[in-house]
């Protein structure tokens, strides 16, 4: 299937934002004091990412003006995604306001728990919408897991970049480096597990070539490991989305003082990797029998 850019962007931004909220909330709960000021930047950035993502997803619709119709018709999928994006925005705003109004630690911890959970659930939801029997390559729990995993590295690197830019102390920065390394490994493992288990790498055979149509349906099936999807996986998802960020995290942990450029590279790389995974999913998502080849 063709890449659906608005949805790629949406799930990248929303997923990254969800993880950003997660790390912010986690810090609130575990209390690495030096990282507290990251929170003040992370929350508005998460909100911006969520809104930008939401707008992007609306761009995917040909009739966004009718979007309210969706509200009248709650189902799993789009509706729940939209719901969780909305809830995340809401909780972030609340979080921010509470921080401004210097709410009690207890209250902040409470809102952090909600934020943390919402960030994670949103991330699972984003991939879960694509699980459908019609697309065997998508119809596995490993897909939401990989969405979860590949977005986590984005959240971690953004969090790390903010920490670096806000000149957090070395210990704090080293901590974000750790995050990055762990999440990079998570992204790599979940993405790779999905790629292998879903059969997406094996390529799909569709119906036969058709006499009176001059085209061969089998031509459009995804290629195997050697095809362009494989390049996406190796270079995009695994190199950019896992290996490079992990290296960056490692470097930052070793030399927190020289972290700015490394942190920028980590974000860009994670962004690419996270997007690449989504593209990989679209490319792999051939219907089991795609008669009209309309998607």
């Amino acid at each position: 299937m063709e890449y659906q850019w608005p949805l790629v962007i949406f799930t990248v931004l929303a997923g990254g934002a969800g993880w950003l909220l997660f790390f912010t909330a986690l810090n609130e709960l575990t209390g690495t004091i030096t990282l507290t000021k990251v929170r003040d930047t992370a929350l508005p950035i998460a909100i911006v990412m969520l809104i930008a993502g939401g707008i992007s997803s609306a761009l995917h619709l040909s009739h966004p003006e009718r979007m309210m119709g969706a509200l009248a018709h709650p189902t799993m999928g789009i509706f729940t995604e939209a719901l969780f994006v909305g809830l995340c925005v809401l909780v972030s705003v609340v979080f921010m306001i509470m921080v401004r109004r210097e709410a009690s630690t207890k209250a902040l911890k409470a809102v952090a728990v909600v934020t943390l959970i919402l960030g994670l659930v949103l991330n699972l939801m984003l991939g879960y919408s694509y699980m459908m029997a019609s697309r065997p390559e998508w119809d596995t729990l490993l897909l939401p897991l990989a969405y979860f995993g590949t977005a986590s590295i984005l959240g971690a690197t953004v969090y790390q970049l903010i920490a670096v830019l806000r000149k957090v102390d070395e210990k704090g920065i080293a901590h974000t480096g750790w995050n990055t390394m762990v999440m990079g490994v998570l992204a790599g493992i979940t993405a790779f597990a999905y790629a292998i288990a879903s059969g997406a790498l094996a390529g799909t055979e569709t119906v036969h070539s058709t006499t009176l149509r001059g085209i061969s349906l089998s031509d459009v099936a995804v290629g195997g490991l050697g095809g362009s999807t494989a390049v996406l996986l190796w270079v995009g998802v695994l190199l950019c989305g896992a290996v490079i960020p992990v290296l960056c995290g490692f470097l930052i942990k070793r030399k927190p003082e020289k972290a700015v450029w490394v942190a920028v590279i980590a974000v860009v790389s994670a962004l690419l990797g996270c997007g690449a995974f989504r593209c990989f999913m679209w490319a792999a998502g051939i219907a089991s029998i795609n008669m009209f080849q309309m998607l």
Binding site: S62, R66, A72, G77, V207, A287, N290, M291
Partner: protein, 193 residues
């Protein structure tokens, strides 16, 4: 509720494409868009011992229609006659239904920017006529009717064949209603069972 569906006897279908044109003409389907499309399957085997058949495809009117399930707006719906249809007015064009349809038989209308597909021609059937593709089929091998009514054309033709000659497209739990008749002599069914 009726359980209306199309049955195609592939033992007779000649891949003549008449149903494809009949459908486009009746429903004004634009170039590059399809509600009904005919494919050649085969040749199977090695020359000169080969078999080949044609597979006309359209919305299979699933009993558990995933397109309806995923549609966030209710634009894809099942009407009071049990037919899966799309309300163009409500469709937001998210294409989730197209992704969810296991057969890729939904079509993107680039003019109206909504999804559409075979409707079973209610504008004809409610007047007691047959769908355009059924009426005009050159081999007269397409049948339409209520699968639950043993006297319908669709049920009667199915009753003439053994279970082993009756097929549906690969069922992912969606239970397609369209049935295909194909005997081993003419071809080996390849589309799942």
């Amino acid at each position: 509720m009726p359980h209306n569906a199309i049955v195609v006897n592939l033992n007779l279908c000649t891949g003549c494409m008449s149903c494809e044109i009949a459908c486009k003409q009746e429903n004004g389907v634009s170039l590059g868009q399809y509600w009904n499309k005919v494919f050649r399957v085969g040749p199977q085997g090695t020359f000169p011992d080969i078999k080949q058949y044609w597979l006309p495809t359209m919305c299979q009117q699933c009993e558990n229609a995933p397109c309806v399930e995923v549609c966030p707006t209710g634009a894809s719906y099942r009407d009071e006659n049990n037919v899966v249809l799309i309300n163009h007015e409500v469709c937001i064009g998210c294409k989730y239904c197209m992704m969810a349809c296991p057969y890729g038989v939904r079509s993107w209308n680039t003019d109206e920017k909504v999804v559409e597909k075979c409707t079973l021609c209610p504008q004809l059937t409610t007047l007691g006529k047959k769908p355009a593709c059924v009426h005009n089929c050159a081999s007269q091998c397409r049948y339409y009717g209520d699968l639950d009514d043993p006297d319908s054309d669709a049920s009667k033709v199915l009753a003439r064949f053994n279970e082993s000659d009756i097929h549906v497209l690969k069922d992912e739990g969606n239970h397609p209603s369209t049935h295909y008749i194909l005997s081993e002599k003419i071809g080996t069914w390849e589309m799942g069972d």
